[in-house]
């Protein structure tokens, strides 16, 4: 049964952040402390977020951190436009990318506005961390495995099929959230960045 506190992210266009400060604080704490994310009975905890206008979800266990504000970045020359730049996170220098060009299909990108980015998720692949800019972050939903709807081959999705693990439909609304394979997404983003990297 999903959390009763669940709210759909990004319903008010004027202010993409829909969480109260207290709720955001709690969310950050939960991500930072890796709080129980998988419980067989209650289901996996997913963080709901919006990439452009597309509602998505990601297993909490696949995130390292949620940044409530889009970090200020310094742009990198000779980079694809989706690499927004570089930002310091404690002792590390991380890249901030806009995952939309890779994550969304052309259907998803049709309604996409780069200017709407307001927060960032931090995830990693083989120890290399990356910041992913998103439009909004919502609540955490606890989804039992049988409530995750598999994606049928004929379904038209806004999220690229190789990153879509299933669909979660909130019982309170009809919004379908696509569960994103964050590990694969980050691995592919890093590989694409490697392609553009300068040889030593």
């Amino acid at each position: 049964v999903p959390d009763s506190s669940e709210a759909e992210p990004g319903t008010a266009p004027a202010s993409p952040r829909t969480l109260s400060d207290a709720a955001m604080e709690e969310l950050l704490q939960r991500v930072a402390h890796g709080e129980p994310t998988v419980d067989e009975r209650a289901g996996t905890q997913y963080l709901l977020f919006r990439c452009g206008q597309t509602p998505c979800a990601v297993a909490l266990v696949e995130l390292r951190e949620v940044l409530p504000k889009l970090p200020a970045v310094v742009g990198m020359p000779y980079s694809p436009p989706w690499l927004r730049g570089l930002f310091p996170l404690r002792a590390e220098l991380l890249g901030l990318v806009d995952p939309a060009p890779l994550l969304l299909t052309s259907a998803g990108q049709a309604t996409y506005e780069p200017s709407a980015l307001s927060m960032a998720l931090v995830a990693e692949h083989e120890g290399v961390a990356l910041g992913l800019a998103v439009a909004a972050v919502g609540e955490i939903a606890r989804v039992p495995p049988d409530e995750l709807v598999p994606i049928t081959p004929e379904a038209v999705t806004a999220v690229a099929r190789q990153y879509a693990l299933g669909i979660y439909i909130s019982p309170r609304g009809s919004t379908p959230y696509t569960v994103v394979d964050m590990r694969q997404l980050v691995a592919d983003l890093l590989a694409a960045l490697h392609e553009d990297a300068a040889d030593e």
């Binding site: 200020a72 310094v74 980079s79 570089l86 310091p88 220098l93 890249g95 990297a197 300068a198």
Partner: protein, 1052 residues
């Protein structure tokens, strides 16, 4: 193969290998000692086929070492398990597969086909040895290293031949090198009955050790002559013993032994300088003794014997109390060289070279015999030995007391060996402190501001409390009659206004707001009257007292925190500096290598040279020191070979027979300067000019315009030489262009000065540290960058460049010369659009021979920055690293050499540069002033408006707002009404009366939004009025609307 990029080729190779290696492993798994013959035959044949394919593939992609190992694998397993198969053979086969898998994994990580590193090269040698040994002890199948295919032998061809060694081994190697296929079926050479009765032939062993010694890709030169192994070539037994010493123990031994050898070098050099100081010989003996002890503990027999011989040689001089003669010195140095070679061989996992021992022991015996038979000095050797002296430390502008490793050594203290990656990780974490410090400073600043706000509120409350006491309803009327209700602003406010707007026609009381006769009179502020006044007033005073006490406590805590913060910052800065210094090593580390080069060349060429070093304690970053090694060696070799004349020629020229080569190191600012000079015959600039002209480096016109010094510096261009036939000696290593390139990579530079007949001096400048750089902060295309200070000669203002003008060359005065340099836009070089900004600044940068001017938007000063390398996936062309500035922002450190070099190439190729996209400079962000006495409201509005992209200023009262209106006029003023000092209505009155404020749009934001207040505000010129609280989007919409109206025209 079809042409493909290196990256494509690597991808293909790695993919194929990743398919082959698991298949090989699978087949090997089915091969057990007890495998049924049919199963064995099938699996072994398949294994051989796949291993052969792996070898061919590796050879195709130039991974020669992998090809060799795979070839050995393809020949390792017999057709049938009828011969006795040893478990060792299967284990060695598995190890060889693991080795290949590890190699491929590293290539996969690097995404290219890599030559083996030192460890891998040693591992490949070990794997091959183990396979050969297992074969020797196991079945007598077709495996013979001498029958390796052409690819291996081609790789081996680089190894020295083996004259006098086993004819079979030498012949086989030679056949292979000639390309004649030895073939799989070639008959094995006659088995060698070595002392241990192994089946390995001398030829096998010679090839093995040649293979070890560097026949693989990019291997170091062979550690010794393969031929020299004849009398006691290492056998399988010795190899097995060698392998028993764990890798880490061996590593530690090699490190310590190298240190000891260095100590011996230093002691001998000091002794040669002052032969009467016998303590130097004692020091050499101590180090040799220590080294001998360690070597014998680990059973390195040859090394033990050579060190023992060295002790004997030195003791001879010590005991006889006579200075060592030249012959003895030569033997010492030869022995020390052999000892160092032996240590190096151990480091590479090679077997000990026993032939050197025999040579050294023979030389020692000879020395001892001469000493015993005749106390008279030994005959002077035919070749005059080079005299190598170490000079005193030069005085520099930095403290030159030996520090770091050198000081510790001098003090007899130990050294801690730390993996450099750990130091770098530490450096990264320490520099992250800078970010935390910046955040702390921001938080502290906010806390101090809040405290100041509190204090102001406190003082207002105190004044209010006094005023309330004066206005008690039961109190007697005050001497000054209260102002009539609805009266214009107080005269005190008018006096304040007069101070701000002197000479104003409205210095007198503003009267515009006076009500017309007959209009209803009303209380603007509608203050309520209280009953039970005294009681409340007392309560109020008490609360005020409590608040005052709390404030005092807060002030004290803040002071303590401030004090602690300062201490903490000083500590963090100190740690950062200390960690940076951990990476520094003294230049003296490079000297022994140079001394050896001088010594051996002097003997070889019959030249007499004194080699002096000043400032050897100059410390530079470890990476810089390593990067300098090749350049310094080349310069010293050049000086020896081309600079210093033979003794007879020098004497004929009236010079002393002994030539001089010197190295002089010193600091200037954050750079280390190293001069390498000689007093030889110098370089002829005309010859360099001619060579450059002949090689097409310069054209006739340029050749004619070059000064001799400029012509001389052309030797750092590709393909320039001043020597008709470069000798074999100087032909080794790297040339002038490579020296210059190596220094550019270190962010350094090199210049040369030479006077014909008197000598040549090369002047190298390198940064002391690559991780701490003094950098100029510039702004380009709206972003900050750091540029290494050392590259920037000067900054010059650039005249405004019109949108349609192209960037022509720039004429400027550089030192005493008038020069014309190309002008580039740094924004364009970085791939951004160039937006002409007036006034712009150009940085004149000098990179090697190239001088150029780069336009930047602004120069924001300079500072020392700690540079961190970027993670691999974020490395980009022209970016050397990043630095986190104290305010937590990131600055990219640019590689100007790369950027400017590419720009020059583009210009030379006359490729039309892309049309400049001239976009207008983006308008400044609109400024909003929020005037409100509530801190909460000020902060909330400031955050909200800033988020929306506005530049926001705040004022806590009307007077402060008026000051800001004068100093930084906003586009929109968000104005509260009830404020201390000057209220909103009064401020509106002033604005309306002064035309200089006509452009300011005023949005009144008040709790008093009722009809009469609204009308009054409008009558005073407010453009909009909103009641508190107001939703964010409503306020934003009104602000946007006002900005739009403000642009379209003046106030109605």
């Amino acid at each position: 193969m079809p042409p493909m990029s290196d990256r494509e080729a690597a991808r293909l190779y790695i993919a194929e290998m990743n398919a082959l290696l698991p298949a090989l492993r699978e087949h090997l798994n089915t091969l057990g000692l007890d495998a049924p013959p049919e199963q064995w035959a099938l699996a072994a044949s398949e294994f051989r086929r796949l291993a052969g394919a792996t070898a061919d593939l590796s050879a195709d992609f130039h991974a020669e070492d992998c090809a060799s190992v795979a070839t050995a694998l393809a020949r390792a397993l017999p057709d049938l398990p009828e011969a006795p198969i040893s478990a060792a053979l299967l284990a060695s086969t598995a190890d060889a597969l693991t080795h290949l898998t590890t190699r491929v994994a590293r290539m996969e990580a690097a995404r290219r086909v890599l030559a083996p590193n030192e460890g891998e090269r040693a591992a490949a040698g070990r794997v091959l040895t183990a396979l050969a040994r297992a074969d020797a002890h196991g079945f007598s199948g077709p495996l013979r290293l001498a029958t390796l295919p052409t690819s291996v032998l081609r790789a081996l061809a680089g190894a020295p031949p083996a004259p006098g060694a086993s004819a079979g081994g030498a012949k086989d190697a030679a056949v292979g090198a000639d390309g004649a296929p030895p073939g799989a079926g070639a008959s094995p050479v006659a088995p060698f009955s070595g002392p241990e009765g192994t089946d390995l032939t001398e030829g096998d062993l010679a090839i093995l050790s040649a293979f070890h010694a560097g026949s693989l890709l990019d291997g170091p030169p062979p550690a010794r002559d393969a031929a020299a192994q004849v009398p006691g070539a290492p056998n399988a037994h010795e190899l097995a013993e060698l392998e028993q010493i764990p890798e880490d123990v061996r590593g530690i031994f090699v490190f310590e032994a190298s240190e000891d050898a260095q100590s011996i070098h230093r002691a001998l050099a000091a002794y040669e300088q002052a032969p009467e100081e016998r303590k130097h010989l004692s020091a050499a003996m101590r180090s040799a003794h220590k080294l001998k002890g360690a070597a014998s503990t680990l059973d390195y027999d040859s090394l033990t014997r050579m060190t023992h011989a060295f002790e004997g040689q030195v003791r001879l001089v010590l005991e006889r109390s006579l200075p060592a003669e030249a012959g003895a010195l030569r033997v010492w140095h030869a022995t020390l060289a052999a000892i160092e070679q032996a240590i190096a061989a151990i480091g590479m996992g090679l077997p000990e070279d026993v032939t050197s021992v025999a040579r050294i022991e023979a030389m020692t015996a000879d020395l001892l015999a001469r000493a015993a038979s005749d106390a008279s000095p030994a005959p002077i050797p035919a070749q005059p030995a080079a005299r190598v002296t170490m000079g005193p430390v030069a005085a520099t502008d930095r403290d030159t007391t030996p520090t770091g490793a050198l000081a510790l050594l001098a003090a007899g203290e130990g050294l801690l060996r730390v993996d450099v990656r750990r130091v770098d990780a530490l450096l990264n974490r320490v520099s992250a402190l800078a970010i935390n410090r910046a955040e702390q400073a921001q938080a502290r600043h906010a806390a101090l501001e809040a405290q100041a706000d509190l204090e102001r509120t406190m003082s207002r409350l105190t004044q209010l409390s006094l005023a309330l006491a004066d206005h008690r309803p039961d109190a007697a009327p005050s001497a000054t009659p209260p102002e009539a209700e609805g009266a214009p602003p107080s005269t005190s406010a008018s006096r304040l206004i007069a101070r701000f707007l002197p000479g104003s026609r409205h210095a007198e009381p503003v009267t515009a707001a006076e009500p017309a006769p007959g209009e209803p009179v009303w209380d603007r502020l509608e203050l309520e009257r209280f009953t039970e006044y005294g009681h409340l007033l007392r309560g109020f005073a008490e609360a005020l007292g409590d608040m005052g006490a709390s404030l005092a406590n807060l002030r004290a805590s803040m002071r303590r925190t401030e004090h602690l913060n300062h201490a903490q910052e000083a500590l963090a800065t100190g740690i950062q500096q200390a960690v940076t210094e951990v990476r520094l090593v003294p230049l003296s580390e490079r000297i022994p290598m140079l001394q050896r080069a001088v010594r051996s060349l002097a003997v070889e060429m019959g030249k007499q040279v004194s080699f002096t070093v000043q400032g050897e304690t100059t410390e530079i970053d470890r990476d810089v020191s390593e990067g300098l090694a090749g350049a310094l060696t080349q310069l010293v070799r050049n000086a020896m070979v081309h600079g210093i004349e033979p003794p007879e020629e020098r004497v004929a020229l009236g010079k002393p027979a002994e030539g001089r080569i010197w190295i002089h190191a010193y600091y200037t600012g954050d750079e280390a300067n190293i001069q390498v000079g000689d007093d030889g015959h110098g370089i002829n600039p005309d010859q360099v000019r001619a060579s450059a002209l002949a090689n097409g480096v310069i054209d006739d016109a340029t050749a004619a315009s070059l000064t001799p010094e400029e012509a001389l510096n052309l030797i750092f261009e590709q393909g320039i030489t001043t020597v008709e036939n470069a000798t074999a000696i100087a032909g080794h290593g790297i040339g002038g262009a490579e020296v210059a390139q190596a220094l550019l990579r270190l962010r350094g530079s090199i210049r040369v000065r030479s006077t014909m007949g008197q000598g040549t001096t090369f002047h190298i400048r390198v940064p002391i540290s690559l991780s701490v750089v003094r950098a100029l902060h510039v702004r380009v295309a709206g972003q900050g960058y750091a540029i290494p200070f050392a590259a920037v000669q000067q900054t010059v203002p650039v005249p405004p460049i019109g949108p349609d003008e192209s960037l022509g060359p720039l004429n400027l005065q550089l030192g005493d010369r008038q020069v014309t340099v190309p002008l580039f836009s740094l924004a364009e070089l970085l791939g951004y659009a160039y937006e002409p900004a007036a006034p712009a600044t150009a940085l004149v940068v000098e990179l090697g021979r190239l001088t150029a001017a780069l336009i930047v938007d602004a120069v924001a000063g300079d500072a020392e920055v700690v540079v961190r390398s970027l993670p691999r996936h974020l490395r980009r062309r022209a970016v050397r690293g990043a630095s986190v500035s104290p305010d937590g922002g990131v600055l990219l450190l640019l590689d100007l050499a790369e950027l400017v070099g590419a720009a020059f190439k583009r210009e030379q190729a006359q490729t039309p540069t892309p049309a400049r996209r001239l976009t207008p400079i983006p308008a400044a962000r609109p400024r909003i002033l929020v005037a409100d006495d509530s801190v909460t409201i000020r902060r909330t509005l400031e955050a909200m408006l800033t988020r929306e992209g506005y530049e926001v200023r705040t004022a806590p009262d009307g007077m402060a707002a008026l000051q800001m209106l004068l100093s930084e006029p906003p586009a929109v003023l968000v104005l509260d009404i009830e404020m201390p000092r000057l209220d909103g209505f009064e401020l509106l009155n002033i604005l309306r009366a002064h035309p200089e404020f006509a452009g300011v749009r005023v949005v009144v934001l008040t709790t008093r939004a009722a009809g009469k207040h609204r009308e009054y505000a409008e009558s005073l010129g407010a453009h909009a009025l909103l009641g508190k609280p107001v939703p964010d989007d409503v306020l934003l919409a009104v602000v946007r609307d006002q900005l739009r109206q403000g642009k379209s025209g003046p106030l109605a």
